[in-house]
Symmetry: C2
Subunit: 408 residues, 2 copies
Amino acid sequence: MALIVQKYGGTSMGSPERIKSVARRVARYRAQGHEVVVVVSAMSGETNRLIALAKEIQAQPDPRELDVIISTGEQVTIGLLSMALKDIGLDARSYTGTQVKILTDSSHTKARIQHIDESAMRTDLKAGRVVVVAGFQGVDAEGNITTLGRGGSDTTGVALAAALKADECQIYTDVDGVYTTDPRVVPEARRLKTVTFEEMLEMASLGSKVLQIRSVEFAGKYKVKLRVLSSFQEEGEGTLITFEEEDNMEKAIISGIAFNRDEARINVTGVPDKPGIAYQILGPVADANIDVDMIIQNVGIEGHTDFSFTVPRNDYQKALAILEGVQGHIGAKSISGDDKICKVSVVGVGMRSHVGIASTMFRTLAEEGINIQMISTSEIKISVVLDEKYLELAVRVLHKAFSLDQEP
Amino acid sequence: MALIVQKYGGTSMGSPERIKSVARRVARYRAQGHEVVVVVSAMSGETNRLIALAKEIQAQPDPRELDVIISTGEQVTIGLLSMALKDIGLDARSYTGTQVKILTDSSHTKARIQHIDESAMRTDLKAGRVVVVAGFQGVDAEGNITTLGRGGSDTTGVALAAALKADECQIYTDVDGVYTTDPRVVPEARRLKTVTFEEMLEMASLGSKVLQIRSVEFAGKYKVKLRVLSSFQEEGEGTLITFEEEDNMEKAIISGIAFNRDEARINVTGVPDKPGIAYQILGPVADANIDVDMIIQNVGIEGHTDFSFTVPRNDYQKALAILEGVQGHIGAKSISGDDKICKVSVVGVGMRSHVGIASTMFRTLAEEGINIQMISTSEIKISVVLDEKYLELAVRVLHKAFSLDQEP
């Protein structure tokens, strides 16, 4: 018998039929003798509907009052799920963030959880009840309703699991786990049974949108066992996100291939190789609120150097215009770029102790005649920028080169 | 400078535009130096939408969870109105029933208010803020969300006015006050500047649906000055509901003519005039959950008597069938009835000390050739049952006979 926290997103709560289906899944866990705490999001679309309504009243909605309004989305779904559970014979009780209570700071619309009072939930669990908690919301010390920002329900789930010292926190989504790469690109892509916390962070930031990155960080901090599962499949063990080194003894060197085609590359060539030049180039870009991802600066030759970086593809023209505006001031020979690029990364904690990964990656791409435009590395990943037309080919050959289609 | 509680219903909250219009009205009162507490209902239709959603999950929704769900309707409108007030430069703060707190018993979906903590509201008012409170909802001693039943927002308004010892509780509706009778029947009908609490109770129970009867009773108990106003008119003083006898010094004898065409008449003739006969007749009707309104029993002659009563018109056929079923058992000579009737009542506290009212009423009807089928009286009203076809004529001639078209 274990204590399990399950979190269901807006799609899983999207209709009365889906809510009933969630109730049946909870019932199966109860039938196995487990204690279950369920965290729910609002019905899909509801939070956006409420924000739009608020904006009809006030173009820049007052944050305190916006939280009062948007927190109702989850208040409705906790009631509906509790009813669905009672309707199939389980005892259940709903809790708003205020009722639990999930104490946060007072930063409306992006509050941080400070403390969770788990006593009422413990009483209910002991009495055999399923506890249903509103995700995304909390209450500050003065009793004001707060919300945690987008993806906050994942954070609520992890925080409750930490407070209750739950055996596992299950995050139900519309995919059945974390894959070695996108199955739409590589049909042989394999679901990972486990992935480390650090790999998950790299995957999430590289475009695998399975989990909110903040909840993964939170789980890491409190050592909560996280599992990603599909809410649309009856069976399946999903992917377990691990934090202990010992869990990784038999792990493969590389866990997966992440990719991203939402970026564009910008090159600034022939700039003077002197202190402060990186700031002179990137300062105006940052001032325009354009995110910069990869940054590469080559060693200078004869007092000049070349500088490259990537920006979101939507901001490409804007960034180019900004740099052309300051070209004279920074003394660059040329400003150029390309918005038909992609970024492909191999990710794996095993990489730390295996020197051959980079050479395998570069050789594999060379054998297919794929030119590498930029390279960037971290402790557990190697990213390359390629011409966009090579994306599928590169992901497929790398997936095969690292034997990701086979169990380790 | 006065402390005023204003209550706005679902129609007044029905759209962003209407909410902004409410904010402008509140601003006018603030500009005059008054302190204002606003109680709001959910947007019109929202509570019904939420109940329908709940019923898709559970045919008989769990009362505790239903309250969690339907209380969100007012939680949205308090946020929206607070934003609208801030948007035009007023400081405002919203409160749910839990936040105030409005302590109730634990009778979900029909809870009764036990106590209101007015300290937080006082602090806000002192700081120059408009306080916006969710109507219809409260919280029980264990922190569960409760609701007060249909029309509960009126009750919240009156209860807050009582707790804050407000100078006035203004109920904004879609009519601009209480009239001597329905202006659609008598164009000369006149808005009453004042009406007594008892008259209002009689009017409400006789079909004038301006105010929820429970909130009127509540106002009477705590001597809250209630005023009915239109939320669609800029000006107008509405109708004040008074509780002190001194307020009535210059009042007319008769305040208004109420009427109702939703009833049907049933006659049971020739029943034995013996103890228990009324119960034998009405027991089976009550068992079928049919409301009985007027009940008339004539003095018995030669050991037999006739018995008449009225029921809602929708239940007429059902009531008739039930009585025909027990006719033999109760020993009645005949069962008959009529569902083409109406009830017309003259109401007024002044009636107590004026004996001529009944004779004026009966003479006026007789002069028009209108036959009276049943008569029933209370301290402050006389009701007659007439053929439905005479309704408009009877109301018009009585309105004139009691000079209701003229200021008293």
